[in-house]
């Protein structure tokens, strides 16, 4: 309906066009004036340009200026301070509350004691041992999930009948808590490494699988149409359009899975293990080594944070084209 008005209202005459905004002509491209000169030479193709700057010159200048702007150093520094402020505050409160007796220092020791315990654990090599055990398990499960769930998801998403056939089953499993299935894994695979790795794998596979399927299935139809109009067959369409378009969604799944891999592993290690960070906190709690327990918890948080940062940076490398 808005379109219909365009039909009845004639366009404004070219000379009634608004004057160009006073965008500074910084870093004007060398190619630009050359082009204008040539357009003038071709001349009869259209109405005279006059001395009003053309809209594309305007656009060029605007983007030159806007594109190169960077936040000043001071502003960035402020942002860093701002973000770490909350952490510093938290640490301060943690230190202060037990010391002034607001909380029981036996159950919540001051942060400095915990850090000291953490350092001792590090020196004794215990921390490394548990850390390594956890890392190997979660990385194995997570890696297997990536290797299996992505190709499977691509296939399911690409073949519509397969997707429709499997979707009820996928929905069912997706809504079955992985944690609820741990006893099953232990029954089948025993209490050793295998059950833990399979457990992590299982928990990680779902977000990756489901995101891959939806990534493939929600590719902008216009892009597919556009590629088809350039004569692309199904295989190349998949390789050149579907896959790259699905990458961001797949990465969302991978990052979710990364978080899960640590989350569920800790749980599995608390239930039955002889090593690992989950075992460490469970064991220290039993033996009333409270500062050590907190040291374990902090290590888990750090591990999760590290994992997420790592995945984020990989993701950024793969999808520089995204607006966010």
């Amino acid at each position: 309906m808005a379109d219909d008005t365009t039909l009845t209202v004639p366009h404004p005459a070219p000379d009634s066009a608004a004057p160009a905004p006073a965008a500074p002509a910084r870093r004007k491209e060398p190619a630009q004036p050359e082009r204008t000169a040539e357009t003038a030479a071709v001349g009869p193709a259209g109405p005279p340009r006059g001395d009003v700057p053309t809209a594309d010159d305007k656009a060029t200048n605007f983007f030159r200026v806007a594109g190169k702007r960077r936040p000043p150093v001071a502003a960035r520094l402020l942002a860093v301070v701002n973000r770490s402020l909350a952490l510093v505050l938290l640490a301060g409160i943690w230190e202060a509350l037990p010391r002034i007796g607001a909380v029981d220092a036996v159950f919540v020791p001051p942060l400095s004691e915990i850090l000291a315990a953490w350092y001792d654990l590090l020196l004794s090599g215990q921390l490394l041992e548990h850390f390594q055990a956890s890392l190997i398990r979660s990385l194995s499960g997570f890696g297997m999930a990536i290797l299996l769930a992505i190709p499977l998801g691509l296939a399911i998403g690409w073949y519509r009948p397969v997707a429709e056939f499997l979707s009820p089953v996928l929905e069912l499993f997706r809504n079955t808590s992985a944690v609820a299935l741990l006893p099953v894994f232990i029954l089948i695979f025993g209490l050793g490494e295998t059950s833990k790795i399979v457990f992590v794998f299982y928990a990680c596979a779902w977000p990756i699988l489901l995101n891959t399927v939806s990534g493939v299935r929600t590719v902008e139809p216009l892009l597919i149409k556009s590629a088809r109009s350039m004569g692309l067959g199904p295989v190349r369409l998949f390789q050149k359009v579907i896959l790259p378009a699905a990458v961001p969604t797949i990465f969302t799944g991978i990052r979710l899975a990364g978080a899960y891999s640590i989350l569920v592993l800790i749980f599995a290690e608390m239930v039955g293990a002889k090593a690992g960070l989950g075992y460490l906190i469970q064991d220290t709690q039993f033996n009333f080594r409270i500062p050590d327990m907190y040291a374990g918890i902090i290590t888990i948080s750090a591990l999760g944070l590290l994992f997420n940062l790592l995945l984020l940076s990989v993701e950024r490398r793969f999808s520089t084209w995204r607006t966010t």
Partner: protein
Amino acid sequence: MSLHTAEHDSAERITAGHVTAEQGPAGPVKIGIRGVGKTFRIRGSDRPFTAVEGIDLDVREGEFLTLVGPSGCGKSTLLDLIAGLTAPTTGQILIDGRAVDGPGLDRGIVFQQYALFPWRTALANIEFGLEAKAVPKRERRERARHYLELVGLSGFEQRYPHELSGGMRQRVAIARSLAFDPDVLLMDEPFAALDAQTRESLQEELLRIWEKTNKTVVFITHGIDEAVYLGQRVAVMTSRPGRIKQVLDIEFDSREGDLRADPGFGEYRHHIWTLLRDEVAAAQEQERTVG
């Protein structure tokens, strides 16, 4: 740079003299649309929905044809049919006398929405069609650069679509369709979303490119001015089901100077406006009863 085209790009066919609007084309029929109709099946309704019906239209080689009609009359549908993206329900579409049986690189489309690949830079977007055509990598890059320059965007090679303005994106889309050198250029309201100034400069650029390359252009627009300004002929469509209501030859004594100020321009515009007025009213009435 545009003048370098001839030496630079052997694949591009350059006519000896300019085919100017005044002369009008007299070449063989490039696109033959014969009794074409298209119906869609609508979910939850067993009556077929007729988008276009009984379309007969010939577009000659090297011609610039503009197509106007009320919203929803089936202009984009017709373009999809010519592109081979969908098959007609009745009738036939011929390119160079052969029935269209699918999309191909002999026809380039500029879609109503820009349809650039967001994960590809401006340059890589332009290379897309060349990859499909299996042009070697080095030549691909060179040609893409050339066409980016042609639409006035050199220096923006490495920008992603989201880093470009709407007008720039549309120019990249135009460059992409030009780069693989199709005989036919199908453009669906390519300048609709642009401000008046950008639109005018792109119109000029398009005419310049067309005059140089002798491509056959079918250009859909909502703007009567644009249709008269660009087209050698203007085809006016009826409201849905879309048919061709009238085809107007646009002739000016001279295209020099401000064409829009020519008294003839106003006459054409008024004529088309009158033709469309009734159709727009009919289309609005239809939308009210359907929606």
